[in-house]
């Protein structure tokens, strides 16, 4: 069995950033394992603009953004293995990899970083009633067909879900000559950025229907029609509000889920993010196994993925250098109005500032974010606008950490 100090599963933005950081901190024996034929992950198909504003103070396309990290990986001579899929791992950090050249091979690692990204919720997952016809695909799949291979998925298209990927695809498909009839969103608000509603829908006069979803799909072989029906505040269809729309394709942009099936092998506890439960160094509850990027929690901006990758790379480097002395855990709890917080634990012995990343449950205005512990106020931060589609970050300085009891909570309070 081969050995390696740090094995990184997934060579997307998170995995590359983690590798680069660990290398810079003196870890030389690293291996990135990537199942695709190139590094970069999902950004390879995100050919639109808008990446890198925080990281490089420039607006880049996805491929341009990722190429800067591939370049660093090459320059730092960090080894990577392409077309290779991690198929299982153990708590003792034995990783099984499968690829064409070598078949099945095993590595014993001293530390592991999981950076496997996320997958899209599919038609089956949201159980759309009606016929089982072709012509129903996810936005990411449509994006890959069009941007990498050059196939248009249909001519008359309805998009379900107003997340950013759906909005970006509405514009992209329109530019390539398809008719995007409308975008329909179940919630009373859009999950995408305002800027994408402006530049992807309004620019092309594509209507966005809120509180409306697909109640039925109709089609013998290929999709012929969808029925869009309004929903009430309990998400129940309202009779008599049907809109019948002729279309050949229904694109689903109904959510991303961290891809964590490998965690099942190691009984790794998860959190409300649907990713692994982690501490401030992005270490999971399994010793020496770290997680970052979309497999930890779904990000909307890649710059923050890169940042989180570095954090995990730093954590793994400290672990490998025996600099992580573990003490008691302080639990971090999301309370009123907060959907989730990363990390879910802070180590009592931690010596660094901690950044909380969280999402709110629903859009709110004029709120104070209250961070408290044992009934004692630790921080109070005014937030004029908070929306679920935007991840929020707040930093807790290390000098506040001694004030924390066994748990610390985040909640929203009206100002």
């Amino acid at each position: 069995m081969r050995t390696v100090d740090l094995l990184i599963i997934g060579g997307g933005s998170a995995g590359m950033a983690a590798a680069i950081q660990a290398k810079k901190e003196g870890i030389d024996d690293i291996l990135i394992v990537e199942r695709d034929e190139h590094l970069g992950g999902i950004l390879n198909q995100c050919i639109h603009n808008g990446f890198g504003l925080t990281e490089f103070k420039e607006e880049l396309t996805g491929p341009e953004y990722l190429s800067r990290f591939v370049k660093q990986v090459e320059e730092l001579k960090i080894p990577y293995m392409l077309n290779s899929m991690v198929i299982s791992l153990t708590k003792d950090k034995i990783v099984t990899i499968s690829n064409k050249e070598e078949g099945v091979l095993e590595y014993k690692a001293r530390a592991i970083i999981m950076a496997t990204g996320c997958y899209e919720r599919s038609a089956g997952a949201i159980q759309i009633p009606g016929d089982r016809c072709s012509g129903i695909i996810t936005a990411g799949t449509a994006q890959k067909y069009l941007n990498i291979h050059g196939y248009l998925c249909g001519k008359r298209i309805v998009i379900l879900g107003s997340g950013d990927i759906g909005l970006i695809m509405a514009r992209r498909l329109t530019l390539e000559g398809a008719k995007v009839i409308c975008v329909s969103e179940l919630m009373p608000y859009s999950n995408g950025l305002n800027r994408n509603i402006a530049q992807c829908l309004n620019d092309y006069n594509i209507p966005l229907y809120l509180s409306r979803s697909v109640s039925k799909v109709i089609g013998k072989n290929r999709l012929e029609k969808v029925i869009l029906t309004a929903v009430d505040d309990k998400m129940q269809f309202i009779p008599g509000t049907d809109m019948e729309i002729e279309c050949d394709t229904l694109i689903l942009s109904v959510g991303l889920i961290p891809y964590i099936s490998l965690l099942d092998y190691i009984d790794c506890p998860t959190s409300s993010t649907k990713g692994a439960k982690v501490n401030e160094h992005m270490e999971t509850m399994i010793d020496g196994i770290f997680s970052c990027g979309n497999c930890l929690h779904v990000h909307d901006v890649v710059d923050f993925v890169t940042d989180e990758g570095r954090l995990a790379g730093h954590g793994a480097a400290m672990y490998l250098k025996d600099q992580l002395q573990k003490g008691d855990a302080i639990n971090v709890l999301p309370k009123d109005g907060i959907g989730y917080v990363v990390p879910q634990q802070i180590d009592r012995n931690n010596q660094e500032d901690v950044t909380f990343k969280f999402r709110v449950r629903r859009p709110v205005k004029d709120m104070n974010l209250i961070i408290e512990s044992n009934g004692q106020l630790i921080a109070k931060i005014f937030k004029p606008v908070l929306i679920p589609s935007e991840m929020v970050m707040v930093k807790l300085s290390k000098d506040k950490l001694p004030l924390l009891g066994e748990e610390v909570s985040l909640r929203l309070e009206e100002r």
């Binding site: 050919i47 396309t61 491929p63 341009e64 190429s67 050059g150 530019l175 800027r195």
Partner: protein, 113 residues
């Protein structure tokens, strides 16, 4: 009075422009510039992809080197769709200079070996 969303950065500020071209709602100066351009000469950049001749089933991504008038988007798309390149490609390579005489080039945004 006109209202719209600034598209310059992900913050997406709600901008209001009054009849004297006074802009409010912007968090930074770029928002003001955007609002004025949106009312006088709205422009956009385009990203798309073009065929790679010597590779099966593969496209390479491209972008306009600068912004083009909003009204020209579909004409530029028609031109982009006529283009093709041969691998290897390098980020920043020019596929077409001065497209439709608009003063912007079509540039490669992906390295393909």
């Amino acid at each position: 009075m006109k209202e719209f969303t600034c598209i310059i950065c992900p913050r997406g500020c709600r901008l209001t422009v009054d009849d004297n071209m006074n802009v409010t709602g912007n968090t930074c100066p770029r928002g003001k510039q955007y609002a004025i351009s949106e009312l006088t000469n709205p422009v956009r950049t385009i990203t798309s992809s073009v065929r790679v001749n010597n590779r099966d089933d593969l496209l390479v991504s491209v972008k306009t080197s600068g912004s083009i008038p909003k009204g020209k988007i579909f004409e530029v798309m028609d031109e982009i769709n006529k283009l093709s390149v041969s691998a290897p490609t390098r980020i920043g390579d020019i596929v077409k200079k001065d497209i439709l005489g608009l003063g912007v080039d079509i540039l490669i945004t992906k390295n393909i070996d």
